[in-house]
Symmetry: C2
Subunit: 506 residues, 2 copies
């Protein structure tokens, strides 16, 4: 199914990324190992077979690399053969595609082997990369010449313009840095659409879009780009109207065949957020039926008032965790989205409002009945009654607890061994929940501990996943396929700016 | 040093290769090993990680590959990562760059790793390859889709037009095939210049040019192309006027810093051959000083009437052999070139003629005095008095023996364990020497045994090197860097057509 009018609106709103030039700042030699990387600044020198150099562009870039290459010695009598490896973090350069045996496609590993038939030359690589570092390794030259790297330029692309961005005014250097890193993260994910990560997998994901849009409203304020993305989802629903979790843009817009019930429903608050930020009532009215349809479809899934649990991997997102039971969380998402739906229904004066109110009430009752555990004093999910942070967070966001109840619940959780949070995506919702229950100080301290931890671990942009106890952890089996500029992590720019958290002190 | 007027003439004479399209004829699976290759015709099918297919273009091609790629399954959610390996002979596909440890640059190995971000797509590879076979190996896709190869096209390039070519009329199918393979070899080496091999190393080499030009006069008759190449050498001499062994064309014409005394001197007969084929007296007159200069420089090298021997690797070419002592052969080349110089001097009425005659006589005397070995009844070269085919061949071509003496000498050589011939380049001069001494039948039988052997070993084009006892031999340590379309091997087209050898029967 394809709504051509929506698609046309979408495509007219999506921006063309602008190009800027970033120069290589210095050349490095990396030694040591993944856990103890030593960095030495190098003077660039002619390179023979086996030589390596790491070009450092000083900050995270998304764009196209141009190398000016030359030679010393005799006229090259054989092609130069080089390997390029692009890395967002130096640790990636200590891994190789050949040694990667995780389950994710190695097609994502940012490396190329290139033959250069004519020297000197200007080599512009046709693919886009996300990187701060580029390692050049000479796989071979001939014995008659050596390769020289004369210059390296990145033609960086983004739809975000830093000229539009006011810096966050704060005396706290960590907060200033966290905000800058968050803005850079968002900036580099803003391409033709809001990509999840410019390294991997570059798709427009609904749940990720919502968080990026929130940060965008406080920073680059590119409302049309959000509008375009919302219309894109609305243009490409499944036959029954369900929205896909993600959209591909190339070779032409097409919905992914991945469906996540939480992501589909989050279209509702994403639309509401957009209206509240932009005041664009026409879009609100035009996309409301699409949004409402997600809630209607969700309702048909209920069984005994709640969503049935499911064993299928990836049946629902919530957090990047295989361990997490998601049944209770999904119910919280439903309630949260019903609240947003009520707000929109009221705004557009849709008589469905009262039905949504009743559904929320019934859902909130079912949430308490089915998932609240009196003995544990928290929500427990699934047949095994699993206690997790996710369940509590989404219950609070779903509105089933009072401020005091919610605040007390979150404090109690800290003294449990509840299933924890894996991604900045769920941490974002944790901070939102803390703000929801009035715990501004705690929200700030979580921000500083978690996102501040990434900063202390050297982040130029915020990561897809972060375990403060093991910064190099990868659920994919290698940092080489981790995404270290991942838009769902740009929350600090939103929280610090929207809620002025820095003004509370610590 | 650079003669701009000569360079301008050269560039105006060099052709722009014409494009034609060649389609993939069939798809194969190769199994077995390098010494026992089994071939199975395949129906193309969707490919997942690790799958391979070999596209067979039916004949040797030089050109640019275009692949039309698609997918089956879900919309690709990760780039496809493929390895392409181009092979002139199937045996190359049983070797890999990683396992190659020879001394030649692995930059020559015709393979690429390519990432495909968008499917379906038309992928046109920017580099030129020499191949009949293309192996496509899927290094990775994701679990959600498989790659399909919808179509494969080679945009073949050559400056030779088969429409200009008369087929050789012969009832002998082996001779017909040898001629066709020789013509294909020449055709595929005729690009902007006469390349030595379109796979490797693609340069214009003087000694190779001379043999290609001879075949060209009997086949494609592209006189201007030879003229352009002669002017190119003449435009870019060393300061003292010595011609380089080879010329690079990119990024702009430049002489190689490799100098081979035999190659430099062979400019003289190359110029004479060109005049005799084309009748272009202006070029003969204009380039005669350059040609004469090679003989003058050679004369200054003589010591006691002969060229001093040399231990330095690659000091002189003669044959692709490290074992061969080249001192006597080089003297033969000098005499051969002096004879050509005399012919030109007579044609242009240059009074240097008598000096050249005296020099030849002195040289011929020195050749006999220094290298003829009465006890062995043949020429012996170097301090160790090495007996080789090369020394006898070049002595005959140098004109120091009568027909009868030469014929008897070559017959005697067959009963010795003289150092043999390695390349079709020296075999070409052997056949020329046989014709010189009137042994037409033997010339034909050598052609049939040697080049015919390559045909029987499956050659689509003639090879840089051929050892009938071990067709997969490589002096470079791997067939993967051998050149299997090498223009100095195109002799059969010249010999069969110019000398009508097929009319002698066997």
């Amino acid at each position: 199914m394809r709504n051509e009018a929506f698609l046309s609106t979408a495509l007219s709103c999506l921006p063309t990324p602008k190009e800027t030039e970033a120069l290589c700042k210095r050349s490095l030699r990396l030694t040591g190992n993944a856990d103890d990387i030593r960095t030495e600044v190098l003077q660039r020198a002619p390179m023979k077979k086996g030589d390596r150099i790491v070009l450092d562009f000083g900050d995270h870039q998304v764009g196209y690399l141009t190398l000016k290459l030359g030679f010393v010695g005799s006229h090259p009598d054989a092609p130069a053969w080089i390997r390029l490896q692009f890395a967002e973090r130096p640790v990636e350069l200590f891994e190789s595609a050949e040694e990667y045996h995780g389950w994710i496609s190695t097609g994502w590993i940012q490396q190329e082997q290139i033959h250069i038939d004519t020297l000197p030359c200007t080599l512009r690589l046709p693919r886009r990369y996300a990187f701060r570092y580029v390692q050049i390794e000479v796989l071979d030259v001939s014995s008659k010449y050596e390769l020289t790297v004369e210059n390296a330029i990145c033609t960086a692309v983004s739809s975000a313009d830093n000229a539009d961005l006011q810096p966050l005014k704060t005396d706290d250097p960590l907060l200033a840095r966290m905000d800058a890193v968050a803005c850079r993260t968002l900036h580099n994910c803003m391409q033709r659409v809001f990509e999840d990560g410019p390294k991997r997998d570059r798709r427009l994901w609904l749940g990720d879009l919502r968080l990026q849009a929130l940060a965008n409203y406080e920073t680059y304020k590119n409302y049309d780009m959000v509008k375009g993305c919302l219309y894109l989802f609305a243009a490409l629903p499944r036959e029954d109207g369900l929205l896909s979790a993600a959209i591909f843009l190339e070779p032409e817009p097409e919905a992914d065949d991945t469906f996540l019930p939480d992501y589909s429903m989050l279209f509702v608050p994403a639309l509401l957020d957009y209206y509240e930020a932009s005041g664009d009532e026409q879009t609100l009215r035009e996309l409301w039926p699409t949004a409402l349809r997600q809630l209607e479809i969700a309702k048909t899934q209920l069984n005994g008032g709640v969503f049935p649990d499911c064993e299928r991997l990836g049946w629902c997102f919530i957090d990047w965790s295989l361990e997490l039971n998601k049944q209770a969380s999904l119910m919280g998402v439903y309630l949260y989205c019903l609240k947003a739906g009520q707000r929109i229904a009221a705004l557009v004066q849709d008589p469905v409002l009262s039905a949504l109110q009743s559904r929320w009430q019934a859902g909130a009752d079912a949430m308490r009945t089915c998932f609240w555990d009196d003995a544990l004093s928290c929500f427990a999910s699934g047949e095994a009654r699993q206690v997790s942070w996710a369940s509590q967070i989404w219950a609070i966001l779903g509105g089933v607890l009072s401020e005091q109840e919610g605040s007390a619940l979150l404090q109690r959780m800290e003294r449990t061994d509840a299933v924890g949070m894996v991604t900045p995506y769920l941490y974002h919702h944790y901070v939102t929940a803390l703000l929801e229950v009035g715990d501004r100080k705690k929200a700030l301290s979580v921000l500083k501990a978690y996102w501040g931890g990434m900063v202390e671990d050297g982040a130029d942009t915020f990561w897809e996943l972060y375990n403060p106890k093991n910064p190099n952890e990868s659920p994919y089996g290698g940092t080489i396929v981790n995404s270290y500029c991942h838009a769902w992590s740009c929350g600090p720019a939103y929280f610090l700016r929207k809620f002025h958290l820095d003004r509370d002190g610590q």
